[in-house]
């Protein structure tokens, strides 16, 4: 299988993601420039972190309008595995693949620290078999996940919360301690951070 690592101007985690997929996960991986329009030949899509377009205007908003995002949406809707991490989370939210948005951290400051996450959903293709509690680093300035009450009830009711901060160390003020969500069919994961080997 070959994974696409989408590259926007300002992506920062594209290079380590590519390296990690090739060397830790042991799958093929190639960059796909944001101006491309096709994902033919790829079996998975990774939308990396960073500061696409400098996060000007609003995190992820300009990247979500890039030509490649039409292809990413089509790929996701057809059931293809898609993962967005950090800035990728923001881009996929902006692209409307999942409900909600990410705001400036409650403390108004960038935060880089280790957190403990509970893997809540145990059945999606991304979270199946992950340890119940994992310790991972997060690093973001705008990571406060919010959505309206209806959407939240739906996410919870459908077991779409992928990860939750535990131990009282929600670093950004996300609603309901949410650190990651999956779509209804479980093929799209958005998270603020993931273990690189997962």
């Amino acid at each position: 299988m070959k994974a696409a690592v989408i590259q926007f101007p300002g992506s920062n985690c594209d290079q380590d993601a590519l390296w990690s997929m090739r060397n830790d996960v042991g799958i093929g991986a190639e960059y796909v420039w944001h101006e491309e329009t096709s994902l033919d030949g790829f079996g998975a899509v990774f939308v990396p972190g960073g500061f696409s377009y400098g996060d000007y205007l609003r995190c992820g908003s300009m990247a979500s309008e890039s030509p490649i995002m039409q292809a990413v949406k089509g790929f996701a809707n057809a059931g293809g595995p898609v993962i967005g991490v950090c800035n990728g989370f923001q881009i996929l939210c902006e692209a409307g693949l999942l409900p909600g948005a990410l705001l400036l951290n409650q403390e108004q400051k960038f935060v880089c620290q280790d957190v403990h996450l509970e893997a809540v959903n145990r059945t999606s293709m991304w979270t199946e078999g992950v340890d119940r509690v994992i310790r991972i680093p997060v690093a973001h300035g705008e990571g406060r996940y919010i959505c309206d009450a209806d959407a939240l009830a739906e996410l919870e009711g459908n077991d779409q919360v992928a990860f939750r901060y535990v131990g009282g160390n929600n670093p950004n003020g996300s609603v309901d301690d949410i650190a990651g969500v999956v779509n209804l069919s479980g093929n799209v994961l958005e998270a603020l951070s993931v273990v690189h080997s997962s």
Partner: protein
């Protein structure tokens, strides 16, 4: 413009005519201290590598260390003090941007940033309310600027240091350091060559910001500094990220003959230095330069310090390859001129020649000055300081005071705002060890990095301050398991025309040079910042040392935290004369607890320090040590407390045997700052192997055990209790100090 009458006369003589306004502006920035190093060049020749470079064909932007496998590591430190005093966020941000450009312009991918910061007091009551509130404003803005720029540009900020002192209240110090990696056969040059080759302007457009920034940096701050806010450049980390990626991609094509960033003095510096280095001429048409405002004059264009710009020379006929890459990344690339063989830099605007002079006039003819140094009285007094007038205080009470003083307290509030892990190569993070460690992909080796220095030590004994900055930074990387291999320095001083300041500068540089030589870790790059003074006085003389160490195996690195399981704790010492001041002269204990800035630090034993560093690195490589932490500001008990806090552990130690020579004073045992002492943790069956390899003169004394279950820090000396306290209480004091000031 900062030129003296004599310098103007020299220009008339060299040029044989009156300079144009544009020429005069260009000469004045190139002959500013910031670019021309007028007062520092003669002294910097103490550094052997610098001397070699000056005698050779010019030195490149940053020095390099060969770490094997065809990999070079480059690093450099640079100050952005004056801009940060006027506009802390942008001043610090553009400092980071500038030093990152110095690294990738060599073809190296930036892999880490560090910073060393000095501010005025942030604690209530330590100075006038206005001063404290201003210092907090500068501190918060600088950290925010570094955070915003470094995080966005995708380079982890992995280590640093922050200290507070009233002498920095009017003139903070912001020194940023960047480290990069490059394939040795792909190092880019900054020397222009090949008449007929096109000159390409790359990156962001030029605006009217930062005009005369280098001259601004070469003068003292005063009331008018506020009006110089327009001299501060504005940074755009996204533009920088684009320029990094486009530059590295363009360099891979082989179409680039040479390249240099546009930093201080912008187009002036890049055009004249590239031409000067390559012994060629350059004909530039400014009408072709991308501009933010099209009414810019030649003077403004040549002196603007707009950020995120590069100048490259293309091999003739291959310029389009470079231009296409920059366009793909969404930024600008324009041919603005051509090289020729005249040696002259010729600048035109609207068809009129605005400057036309030999490149070397700007790069090589800047006069240098030597001042007759005079030792300041405080240095003389420091040598005869007696502890007799210093009353002994309760050591536990003093320990809490030290833990909660902002200079020694936890810097979590700062480093949590920095992305320490982007690029996923950081294997020892801030707060975990004496230095940060990177495990770069493509090699098994580890790169340990640290930046360190003490203004107080340097003020009281400039030579010792220079030595100690190097030695401490070396010991810090050694405590992670690395052998020190290279130094970059940031020299921050007052007005060099003052004989006392010149004395501090000359002695400190001598100290750095001697220590670097003794360690076998050459000074490969650096920066000098003079005129650090304001109405509130001049800063403490502050030489800062960026140190790089190399581990054979990055996976073996150790931190300072006592491990989860119980272990032995030992004190490693090298022979050093504690004198009559017992390590309390110019110590943080004396400053913080007794409010006295007197006495002198102990001068280190340079020869034995190298042995100590190598023994530490070898012991880590042999997997004999579990943790290590050097005794520095705050002394032995402070070091023990930090190891317990970092590991959420405890300890039970008796210092009677290890520190008997300090026995006349219990505060010296607890808080004396003795260079060449390191606290180590190990399993008891490693003890013999550790001893077997100890070089002559070094000693290892077992002082006790860790106590992970009790979580209690207990230290005694000859039956007297130095400390007996819960680690959690110590940790509260340590962690809450800075947030308590800033909330």
């Amino acid at each position: 413009m900062g030129l003296t009458d004599q310098e103007y006369d020299l220009i008339l003589k060299l040029l044989g005519r009156e300079p144009t306004m544009t020429e005069l502006g260009m000469i004045s920035v190139m002959w500013s201290e910031h670019c021309g190093y007028k007062y520092s060049r003669p002294i910097l020749s103490y550094f052997s590598e610098y001397k070699k470079a000056m005698e050779g064909d010019g030195h490149e932007n940053a020095g390099m260390i060969n770490i094997g496998n065809n990999i070079g590591v480059v690093m450099k430190v640079e100050s952005h003090n004056h801009p940060s005093a006027v506009e802390p966020h942008q001043g610090a941000a553009t400092g980071v941007g500038g030093i990152i450009r110095d690294i990738f312009t060599m073809g190296a991918r930036p892999i880490a940033c560090l910073n060393s910061l000095r501010f005025g007091p942030i604690r209530d009551g330590e100075a006038d309310e206005e001063v404290v509130s201003f210092s907090k404003h500068i501190f918060e803005g600088v950290v925010d600027g570094i955070s915003r720029y470094g995080n966005c540009v995708g380079v982890p900020t992995i280590a640093g240091e922050v200290a507070f002192h009233r002498r920095y209240a009017g003139n903070p110090l912001v020194n940023a350091m960047c480290v990069g990696m490059v394939d040795l056969d792909e190092v880019a040059s900054a020397g222009a060559d090949g008449p007929g080759n096109p000159v390409i302007y790359l990156g962001s457009a030029t605006g009217k910001d930062g005009i005369h920034g280098a001259t601004f940096a070469s003068d003292a701050l005063n009331e008018d500094s506020e009006s110089q806010r327009p001299n501060v450049q504005i940074g755009d980390p996204f533009a920088e990220k684009i320029v990094i990626e486009a530059t590295l991609e363009a360099l891979k094509t082989g179409a680039v003959q040479s390249i240099q960033d546009m930093g201080a003095a912008g187009l002036t510096c890049s055009t004249t230095e590239m031409a000067g280095k390559g012994n060629v001429g350059m004909d530039v048409d400014l009408d072709k330069v991308p501009m933010r405002e099209d009414d810019m004059t030649a003077y403004e264009l040549m002196l603007s310090e707009s950020q995120e710009r590069m100048l490259a020379i293309a091999h003739k006929g291959r310029e389009q390859e470079i231009i296409d890459i920059f366009h793909k990344w969404g930024t600008q690339a324009e041919v603005i001129g051509y090289l020729n063989d005249t040696g002259m830099v010729t600048i035109s605007r609207h068809g009129k020649v605005e400057a036309d002079f030999p490149a070397k006039l700007l790069t090589d003819e800047c006069p240098t000055y030597v001042v007759e140094p005079v030792e300041p009285q405080n240095c003389i007094d420091a040598r005869t300081f007696s502890l007799d007038t210093v009353e002994q205080t309760d050591p536990q009470d003093s320990l809490f005071k030290l833990l909660s003083c902002p200079t020694l307290a936890s810097k979590r509030w700062v480093y949590q705002q920095y992305d320490q892990q982007v690029q996923t190569q950081t294997t020892l993070l801030p707060g975990q060890g004496d230095a940060a460690v990177l495990a770069p992909r493509g090699t098994r080796k580890g790169v340990a990095l640290k930046i360190d220095g003490s203004g107080l030590w340097t003020m009281q004994d400039p030579y010792a301050g220079g030595c100690l900055a190097v030695i401490e930074a070396a010991r810090n990387v050694a405590c992670t398991g690395a052998k020190p291999v290279g130094v970059t320095d940031g020299l921050n001083f007052g007005d060099p025309r003052d004989p006392g300041v010149y004395f501090q500068f000359e002695r400190a540089v001598r100290g750095i040079a001697d220590a670097a030589e003794a360690l076998g870790a050459p000074v490969i790059s650096g920066n000098v910042s003079f005129y650090n003074q304001s109405e509130l006085g001049e800063v403490l003389p502050t030489p800062l040392i960026g140190m790089m160490g190399l581990l054979e195996d990055a996976n073996k690195r150790i931190g300072m935290a006592l491990p989860e399981n119980a272990c032995k704790i030992g004190l490693v010492k090298l022979p050093v004369e504690a004198g009559s001041q017992l390590g309390l002269g110019a110590s943080t204990y004396l400053t913080e607890v007794h409010k006295r800035e007197e006495g002198a630090p102990i001068r280190p034993n340079l020869r034995a320090e190298k042995d100590l560093c190598h023994w530490l690195a070898d012991s880590v490589n042999d997997e004999l040590l579990l943790c290590a932490h050097d005794v520095s500001e705050g002394g032995t008990v402070f070091a023990l407390a930090e190891m317990c806090i970092a590991g959420d552990s405890g300890c039970e130690v008796d210092l009677s045997g290890a520190l008997s020579e300090l026995g006349s004073r219990i505060d010296a045992v607890a808080f004396g700052e003795i260079p060449g002492h390191v606290v180590v943790g190990f399993e008891s069956d490693s003890e013999q192997a550790l001893r077997d390899k100890l070089p002559n003169g070094l000693t290892l004394t077992v002082i006790g055990d860790s106590a992970p279950d009790s979580g209690q820090v207990k230290a005694t000396f000859n039956g007297q209790t130095l400390v007996d306290s819960q680690t959690s209480d110590l940790k509260d004091a340590y962690e809450s100090a800075i947030p308590g000031c800033m909330d």
